[in-house]
């Protein structure tokens, strides 16, 4: 079965037990993301952004509700199946880059293909072409500590893209970068979107969300706005919305 929606969330809740208190990090979240869309998820800290991102990335499973990727319901999948799903469908880009310190840029980018059982030669070729596509062909054999922040995030993006996942999941990708470098990374995302990649960008910066075609605003675990990026982002900064 193929549905036009890449991602489909219906009445997702996620409860945590913190001490004796139950916390509702997500409380009935429903939305869909079509193939090729670029969606920003905005909200203040504690709004449930991170929890949503973990669920979208199949790192965590909802307490209730249905989450399907390409029509496949994630609920009830075994740990191994979730790992394989992440490997195939999700490309992660993290705020803190999360590169393996002892591995070269190339080895870092090859990693998702290692876990997919791609033969060495093909792995190498695909990793090299992914690094070329983010403009790092001359840094392939450098380790992360020999790279600048912007270069590290490019390596991370190459690693996220190398397996040709359905979804690029970027969590504050510019959060640890100066504004010029952050802008470069954002441009890279724009380019990927233009080439048809589906992107979910989690950010607390309305300025960035405003530049995305669509944005979802979370507050206290619920969706309070879902619409054009510019409008939803601006909604967040008006004094009226904060009141």
């Amino acid at each position: 079965m193929t549905s036009p929606e890449l991602l489909s969330l219906q009445a997702i809740t996620r409860h945590y037990q913190v001490g004796s208190e139950g916390v509702r990090a997500l409380d009935g979240v429903s939305f869909e993301v079509r193939r090729g869309e670029w969606v920003a998820v905005v909200g203040q800290s504690g709004s449930g952004k991170s929890t949503l991102m973990n669920i979208l990335g199949c790192l965590d499973t909802p307490t209730s509700g249905t989450y399907a990727i390409r029509g496949q319901d994630v609920r009830g999948l075994a740990d191994d199946a979730l790992a394989d799903l992440r490997n195939r469908e999700i490309g992660f880009v993290f705020q803190t880059f999360q590169l393996l310190p002892r591995s070269t840029a190339l080895a870092n980018v090859e990693l998702p293909l290692v876990y997919r059982g791609v033969p060495r030669r093909e792995r190498r070729e695909r990793a090299e072409s992914a690094l070329r596509s983010v403009g790092l062909e001359d840094r392939m054999h450098h380790r992360p500590n020999e790279l600048s922040g912007g270069q590290r995030q490019r390596v991370a993006m190459a690693r996220a893209l190398v397996g040709e996942p359905s979804l690029l999941l970027a969590d504050e990708p510019t959060g640890n970068l100066d504004s010029a470098t952050g802008e470069e990374i954002f441009r890279l995302l724009e380019g990927l979107h233009a080439r048809g990649h589906t992107i979910v960008l989690v950010t607390h910066e309305p300025r960035l969300a405003a530049r995305c075609p669509r944005a979802i605003r979370l507050m206290d675990g619920r969706i309070v706005a879902d619409g054009a990026g510019r409008e939803v982002a601006l909604l967040g900064v008006t004094p009226a919305a904060l009141a």
Partner: protein, 415 residues
Amino acid sequence: MRGLRRAAAELEESVRIALSTLVGNRMRSALTTLGIVIGVTTVIAIVAVIQGLNSSFETQIQSFGAHTLYVSRWKWMNLSGDWWKYRNRKPIGEVELGAISRESSLALAVSPVIPLTAAAAAGEHSLSAVQLDGVGSEYLRANGGSVVAGRFLVEGDLEATSHAAVLGADVADHLFPGQAPEEVVGRRVTLSGHPFRVVGLMERRGRFLGMAMDNNVFLPYTTFGRLFGPKRPMYIAVAGPPGRLSELDDELTGILRRARQVAPGRADDFTLNRQEQFLKVYQGLTNALYGVAVGVGLITLVVGGIGIMNIMLVSVHERTREIGVRRALGARRSTILAQFLVESALVAALGGAIGTGLGLAIAEGVALTTPLAAAVKPSAVALGLGFSAATGLVFGTWPAWRAAHLDPVEALRYE
């Protein structure tokens, strides 16, 4: 196919990461493996020396007396403390010797042995204690050994009660230092004050169970009886055909019971000893040593294993975020488990390899600097390596399991 390729790719990645971690933390890795190194070194060295001893011992046993029974009042290597039972037995003497010589059909060679410790001298050189053995002309065939120069005692020496002596290698070295064996033959020696002429020199036999085998002088037992008294305790060496020691045993038992007039139904009042008895006691000793070596080895391996477990727990802790990243990129729990198991097994096997090398070097050193031999069977090396790698696996399991069961979300967030 894909699963297999994936496993191979993951193993390759695990080994690569394990090696880079090993190299990246050289000091830590060295200290971690130290316990395993010490354990394996100890075991390999001890086992090498024991195996060397065993093989040289067995060769010696076979070189003389393998097909020989020793008729004696005493039971050899008797460790049970009932020596008084044997003490009251009638001594073995000419009667028994005569009976065996006359009646045994299986005996190939028969010789009495009458030992006595006495002083020996030649010119200005002297020895305060050598073992004088009064023996018969068939002694060499009965007990093993050979002469390098001159001749052994012959029937004529016995009949004539001649003052002929055959010197052991050590005795010859001390009394005639620096002289060739041929020069020594024909020279005079004084044994316990009596003059003797050297007719032959024994080939060196080395040590047997720590006893010097070359500190003897062989005399005709007839001469021995005349000089030192006829009632000395003797034992009789009787060599039989190879593989028929039990038949010889039965035959001699019958002959001796008649000669010593043992009433039917009463126990033998003599013992037919075998060299094997030494071997048995000896093997009992070396088995005990083996036990100790294995015990020491196991204890050190456990201690080393705990060291590995500790360092692996630290390593898992330090690499929490790395584990989270790997899980996010599609590593299964089993992948993470395997990665850390490979690492701990590799550390342990490295220790095992170093330990094996050191152990072999020590065994070689022992063999070169002491009379002990050393030999290592390939199986011992394989066992050392196998055991250390297994230690790594066993003690790496708990840390690896912890790593595999980290929550990816928590692991990624870990500072």
